[in-house]
């Protein structure tokens, strides 16, 4: 059980039922549970889509696409069955929010899935939960069974005449599967290799049928939007960035934890006020603002509102809400290496720029960190990274390249300091095995 935290600036929407025992169906019903879906059953599908569109809800997985807009791409008529797929394969380093939703409020995810189904005319939903989250899969299995037992799922839900089935699905360890097209491949029982787009999943998705794929936090937000209204939700955040967000604060902070803050909350305030600042009197060095794939920011860049558009303007991304804080004891070369090691491990190998790029970058960074770096490596790291951008089926290549480019550009001096066999200034002895120097 992950610890819960709180802060006065929090606006609790998705986390409203955390710690309230809402895994129990009766308790969930007491806390306004399954009211939104009953409201949705009285609405026209287009009205649901418009409500969500107007709420300004944008994909909480990291891409930040308008959710209602995504739903509107699903064709009204389809020869093949339509599907709703909940993405609970949370694995972006720095992100641990969906875990809390599944742990404390699984019915909200189910309810959001059903509403999404009503909006696009689907009768089947899947909730995919990563393999490592076994205890959450068990919570979800029970929640689904409880909802069936009450007639909230299955044939004729709530006596409406509408049929809707929700099924659980467990993964088995793969970051790449969090990407929507790879997620569908995985659900179909295959290796999680991305599909080329177009066609987009909204048109050709699971088993060829139109498919809506939304992150668990996105779907858990839907019932609140339907009950509170699009205007209320939209006004919680800045224009076009409706609502709140679960921010996962981690790294060198006094009070790490998952906090629900309005969209557009200032990043600096988030670090120093909500997260309690840096412990031990040390100084801030860099921030990963939205999961390991987002470009890092330096202390002079963090006075920005945390919403999708402002972060883009600031040269980074809001991403998945994983805010990782680095203090001045961190070796940036080592940090870049750890990120690259991750992407090299997770690259599915389908696209050559990503498969080869992450491998060469990892090898170069290992050598670099252990003191075998050459001056031309620094530009080579940039060159390799830049050539991965936009050249792959899925964004994993970009995800590996973006933080790397930002680290080299913003902390070039630290790379210079590792040159000519100089040991890492942040470690007494380099612990990473040295590879032969490649000229």
């Amino acid at each position: 059980m992950a610890e819960l935290v709180s802060h006065p600036d929090e606006v609790r929407v998705v986390s409203r039922r955390f710690g309230q025992g809402a895994t129990n169906l009766d308790r969930y019903l007491e806390l306004d549970g399954y009211k939104a879906v009953q409201k949705a059953l009285t609405m026209q599908p287009d009205a649901i889509v418009n409500e969500v569109k107007n709420s300004g809800l944008r994909g909480r997985g990291g891409a930040g696409f308008n959710t209602g807009m995504k739903w509107s791409f699903v064709p009204k008529q389809s020869a093949k069955p339509k599907y709703v797929l909940c993405n609970g394969d949370e694995s972006e380093p720095g992100t641990c929010k969906d875990r809390l939703i599944f742990e404390h409020d699984p019915h909200a995810v189910i309810e959001g899935t059903v509403i999404a189904g009503l909006a696009v005319g689907s009768h089947t939903g899947y909730i995919y939960i990563r393999g490592e989250y076994r205890y959450l899969l068990e919570i979800m299995q029970k929640a689904i069974a409880d909802a069936y037992a009450r007639g909230f799922l299955g044939k004729n839900i709530f006596g409406s005449g509408y049929d809707f089935d929700v099924y659980w699905h467990g993964g088995a360890g793969a970051y790449e599967v969090g990407e929507e097209s790879a997620l569908m491949e995985s659900l179909e029982g295959k290796r999680g290799i991305p599909r080329i787009r177009p066609p987009f999943p909204a048109v050709v998705g699971l088993w060829g049928g139109p498919t809506v794929i939304n992150n668990a936090e996105t779907l858990a937000s839907i019932p609140h939007i339907l009950l509170g209204g699009a205007d209320w939700y939209a006004n919680l955040g800045p224009p076009k960035n409706g609502g709140t967000r679960l921010f996962c604060l981690s790294g060198h902070l006094k009070r790490p934890g998952v906090y629900e803050l309005p969209m557009g909350y200032n990043l600096k305030k988030m670090i120093y006020d909500v997260g309690g600042g840096i412990p031990g009197g040390r100084k801030l060095k860099a921030v990963v603002p939205g999961g390991s794939s987002t470009p890092l920011m330096t202390p002079d860049e963090i006075d920005v509102p945390m919403d999708f558009d402002s972060m883009m303007k600031a040269g980074s991304m809001l991403g998945s809400g994983g805010v990782v804080v680095l203090d001045d004891t961190t070796c940036m070369v080592k940090f870049a290496l750890r990120i690259m090691k991750f992407y090299q491990h997770e690259s599915c190998g389908w696209c050559i720029p990503c498969r080869e790029g992450t491998d060469w970058l990892k090898k170069t960074l290992i050598r670099f960190h252990s003191g075998g770096g050459l001056k031309k490596d620094i530009d080579n790291i940039l060159y390799l990274s830049q050539n991965m951008l936009g050249r792959t089926f899925c964004p994993l290549g970009d995800a590996a390249a973006m933080p790397t480019i930002s680290i080299v550009k913003k902390f070039r001096q630290e790379f210079e300091d590792h040159l000519e066999g100089q040991p890492c200034a942040f470690e007494k002895e380099s612990k990473i095995e040295q590879l032969p120097v490649l000229a």
Binding site: A2, E3, P81, E90, S91, E92, P93, G94, T95, C96, D98, R99, Y126, R130, G131, E132, Y133, R134, Y135, Y167, H169, G170, G171, A172, G173, A174, Y175, S186, L187, E188, G189, K190, R191, G192, W207, C248, L249, S250, G251, H252, P256, G257, V258, V288, S292, G322, V324, V325, L326, T330, F335, R338, I339, F342, H345, E346, C348, K431
Partner: protein, 157 residues
């Protein structure tokens, strides 16, 4: 090849969830591995047969997912996350501590077969770092001392 009754009933139920048999493959492999320790040739053959797949197709899927293994692990698989959030809060020390304690490296198993050690990628415990997963159980906000206590409890089980 015999699995538990729970496995069989879950397997039968899952087959009704999807339009294709193959879709049950990934979760089924993990549940099978939980019962038999690893995905042996026998298990692969059995599952391939049930789902009308070739053994090669099943192996192809196994090799993709990091939690699936064809090699037996120890009774308790100690998975130390060393990804960024854990790294910043001392994951390397935890991993090295485990290496010394068990006398094994990454993916090694102790001679008594009790513990396996694995360095893993982000397990979704960033705000409670550093974290270790032993089989499916999360242990968070760890120090080497706390981890020792956790591991001693498993030893006593």
């Amino acid at each position: 090849m015999r699995f538990s009754e729970q496995f069989e009933s879950r397997f039968a139920e899952m087959l009704t969830h999807y339009p294709t048999k193959r879709s049950v493959l990934v979760p089924t492999l993990l549940y099978a591995q939980d019962e038999s320790g690893s995905l042996s040739d026998e298990v692969i053959k059995e599952i391939a047969g049930r789902l009308e797949l070739t053994e090669l197709e099943v192996r192809n899927v196994i090799s993709y997912y990091s939690m699936l293994t064809t090699h037996p692990r120890g009774k308790y698989n100690v998975q130390v996350c060393t990804n960024i959030a854990c790294l910043l809060r001392g994951a390397d020390e935890l991993f090295e501590h485990c290496e010394k304690k068990f006398g094994v490296k990454h993916k090694g198993t102790t001679a008594d077969g009790l513990f396996s050690l694995e360095e893993v990628e982000c397990i979704g415990a960033c705000s409670w770092a550093p974290a270790v997963q032993v089989n499916y159980d999360f242990h968070e906000n760890l120090t080497t001392e706390k981890l020792d206590n956790v591991l001693d409890e498993y030893r006593r089980k």
